[in-house]
């Protein structure tokens, strides 16, 4: 494996409104955009979720970004990119907001058992080679419960909602890490104005700006990508295990029309879920919707 030239985030395309940052990034990648190109939109009109579902993407306040990668890994190991994205986002949200983010297999970003963010990766490959991969990230930052569609209000949340439930703390302590200049392989960049300077209200800086979150995600993404390429998969898988609430939990997984219930034992060397069924048999799950029945 080689480390490709250029960092993730060297090129950032900012769009006010787009159908889907992933669709746009897939188009850019198809026309040859380099490894590490990032697409960010203020709003998406057809934000993508798994199997044709939509990702609710109102303007002014949430984060919708897609990252183009041209990784020198084999297609059969591409699921490690999913693990990497989950780890990078979980750490970045934790650092910028102080929230205890947990990963639900494979890459849902959860806070107090509600979904704060999701990741959908699209890729083109033949048998031997990844042509390119696009990691799509959606994080609910400023959205309020009333902004969510009725049917997901019980299962979705945002950084604003979660911080609002915490006791009030002085603004300078709530920010978590350092402030938002970020290095993208060269000079620090600042995102266009719509992403800067958000807060819950005047003098309240507890909710991190989207620029700040993007900066941390890109920093973590670069860090973990380098670890994956240089040191192999184990450190990454271990970090995922540390950040995930899935292993050890009693879960239910729906795969197409079948539903399996059992204990989520671990993940394998590609990140696939190892589910112990009541019969004692361990089933390897590659794709499906996972519900945690009882946490560890």
């Amino acid at each position: 494996m080689d480390l490709k030239d250029g960092f993730i985030g060297t090129e950032i395309v900012f769009l006010e409104s787009i159908d889907s940052t992933n669709t746009f990034a897939m188009g850019l990648a198809g026309k040859g955009s380099p490894h590490g190109t990032v697409v960010i939109a203020d709003t998406q009109t057809k934000g993508k979720g798994r199997s044709g579902r939509t990702w609710v993407s109102p303007p002014k306040g949430n984060l919708y970004m897609s990252i183009i990668l041209r990784p020198e890994i084999e297609p059969k190991d591409a699921t490690l990119l999913v693990i990497m994205a989950a780890v990078a986002c979980a750490i970045a949200i934790k650092k910028t907001s102080g929230l205890r983010v947990k990963i639900k297999w494979p890459n849902d970003l959860m806070v107090s058992d509600k979904k704060l963010g999701g990741i959908l990766t699209e890729m083109k490959s033949d048998f031997d080679r990844i042509t390119f991969a696009v990691i799509g990230i959606g994080i609910n930052v400023n959205m309020e419960i009333k902004d969510f569609p009725q049917d997901i209000r019980n299962i979705a949340t945002s950084i604003r909602e979660e911080l609002g439930t915490l006791p009030s703390i002085p603004s300078h302590q709530g920010r978590g890490g350092k402030r938002g200049s970020f290095h993208t392989g060269g000079k620090p960049k600042e995102l266009p104005s719509p992403l800067v300077g958000e807060g819950k209200g005047e003098g309240d800086f507890r909710i991190p700006s989207r620029t700040f979150i993007v900066a941390e995600i890109l920093e973590e993404m670069n860090r973990w990508y380098e670890i994956l390429i240089k040191n192999g998969r184990e450190p990454l898988l271990d970090e995922w295990r540390r950040l995930s609430s899935t292993p050890g939990s009693k879960v239910e997984v729906t795969v197409g029309e079948k539903t399996y219930a059992g204990i989520a034992e671990d993940i394998d060397d590609k990140g696939m879920l190892l589910l112990r069924l009541p019969s004692g048999v361990v089933e390897k799950i590659s794709a499906g919707d996972l519900t945690v029945l009882s946490p560890i």
Binding site: S51, K76, E122, M123, F127
Partner: protein, 142 residues
Amino acid sequence: MELDDLKGLIALLKDTDITELQIEKDGSKVRIKREKLLSSIEISKQAVIQEKPAAETSEDTQRLVTVTSPIVGTFYRASSPDAEPFVQVGTRIKKGQVLCIIEAMKLMNEIEGEAEGVVARILVENGQSVEYGEPLFLIEPV
């Protein structure tokens, strides 16, 4: 050695397991080397024969190229449940055209055709789990 002799020799070897032959005669030297064919064509032939023994003659399948799954996951013929399939039997495809999606861990992998051709057979059902290396399509090259 005459050209006809050579042709005869090659024809003779064709039906054997011999992969290399060297003959030295009257100061001239001929070496014939055949690569053992472990191409996708042979593999596809086996896969088809295992599945439907009497369905096709080897002559039909010999020309077909197999597209195999690069990852473990779930096979989808369309981009979403209510979208049209990417290809049908008989669809003429270009190199790099998307044939299907294999999903693993919320990673939607669009599988691209590696050569120009016509979709001859689709070997898996929509929504079915596939293993690494499992044959997905037979493509008739053009």
